[in-house]
Symmetry: C2
């Protein structure tokens, strides 16, 4: 099975994704990524990554002939371009410092051929943060979450337990509240937390920064 | 039309997205966002946001009964949780400083009810950066790109012209190479570039930071 990515421009009407996925299903293609891109002033685009046996040309030809598809191009895939993602969320002051450490460290790994993105959202409020934590496991390519703030607990801690049960690694800054009790490693220095987050997801280093016992740095 | 978001757990086989989108097309639902989430140790999930007339319950019932769908839940939508995105790419040193400004400013807006995420990727190399710039317009919810480095030109500049033609706002740091010539505003201080990027996409301020003439700060 070879991997392909296509970008189609389609008319803004219900059923377009259905039409495209029907052709892919007919060809036994396994869709690995899909995105609908909306534009304010022109037709939407649908982007698909998939693997399929044999040549992609007959499949691409059928996709082009679907009513409502105005153009189709083969493109490089996202996972090759943006790679793994780390998400940092919490208070702006701390999120900025964690990002600084993570970006500097990601730079060092990406120079050696990795692709690691560092994504952040500064957010305040127990309910908002708990929702954002729960939604992280639905974002594509996310490997690790860093919670950066001065106090986090309550429903945020329950959300951390849920996403950890789903396999996500969660690093917490040392802070007030119960989040440090339910996270994986707890780190006091935000810059170091960012660096460790990147080291934990990188394939380049030869050691395991997230051991099975719960460390505090 | 009311907006809904559903998260389904499905078996890992071709045709699942086709099955789900067929039911949505039958109900004339307009799909606005879709994501396939892969897991190393359990079944993949397909997440869909859509708008539809009337109650979502009969539609959700039909989706649940599709062969291969093992569970379905209604969830809050991503756009409500993570909001608009700014992407910062380039050299680690500058990306970190732009992120610091952007995250601090996003914090101030998010406290007043906005949802602005700041995403970064430190990258080196003309070809890698040009590909990443071109791919930005295929990422969901992206409003603005900041290019942060010391020298960028060649194919990166052609990529900037292409994404600007598609409506993306591109802020460039003042740097060597031709990228500052083809970008929207050019900013010398990276922290200020990050702050301006957030101001440009926020709905809270009452002024336009990206005027029609090309400013240099």
């Amino acid at each position: 099975m070879a991997d392909y990515a296509v970008l189609t421009t389609v008319t803004n009407q219900p059923g377009m994704l259905f039409g495209l996925t029907r052709v892919l299903a007919d060809h036994h293609a396994n869709i690995t990524y899909v995105d609908i891109i909306h534009h304010r002033d022109r037709d939407p685009e649908i982007y698909l990554e998939f693997s399929v046996d044999g040549s992609v040309d007959p499949l691409a030809g059928e996709l082009r002939r679907i009513s409502g598809v105005s153009s189709l191009e083969l493109t490089p895939s996202f996972s090759k371009i943006y790679g793994k993602r780390i998400i940092i969320m919490g208070g702006g002051a701390q999120v900025g410092q964690v990002a600084l450490g993570a970006i500097t460290e990601a730079d060092r790994h990406n120079i050696r051929g990795e692709r690691i993105s560092v994504d952040t959202i500064p957010l305040v409020g127990e309910e908002e943060l708990a929702s954002a934590v729960r939604a992280v496991v639905r974002l594509p390519r996310v490997r690790l979450l860093v919670l950066a703030g001065s106090i986090m607990g309550g429903d945020i801690s329950r959300a951390v337990e849920e996403v950890r049960a789903k396999g996500l690694v969660v690093i917490s800054l040392n802070m007030a509240g119960s989040v440090p009790d339910v996270a994986d490693p707890v780190v006091s220095d935000p810059v170091q937390a960012g660096v460790m987050a990147v080291m934990a997801v990188a394939d380049t280093p030869k050691f395991d920064i997230i051991p099975h016992h719960k460390p505090r740095y």
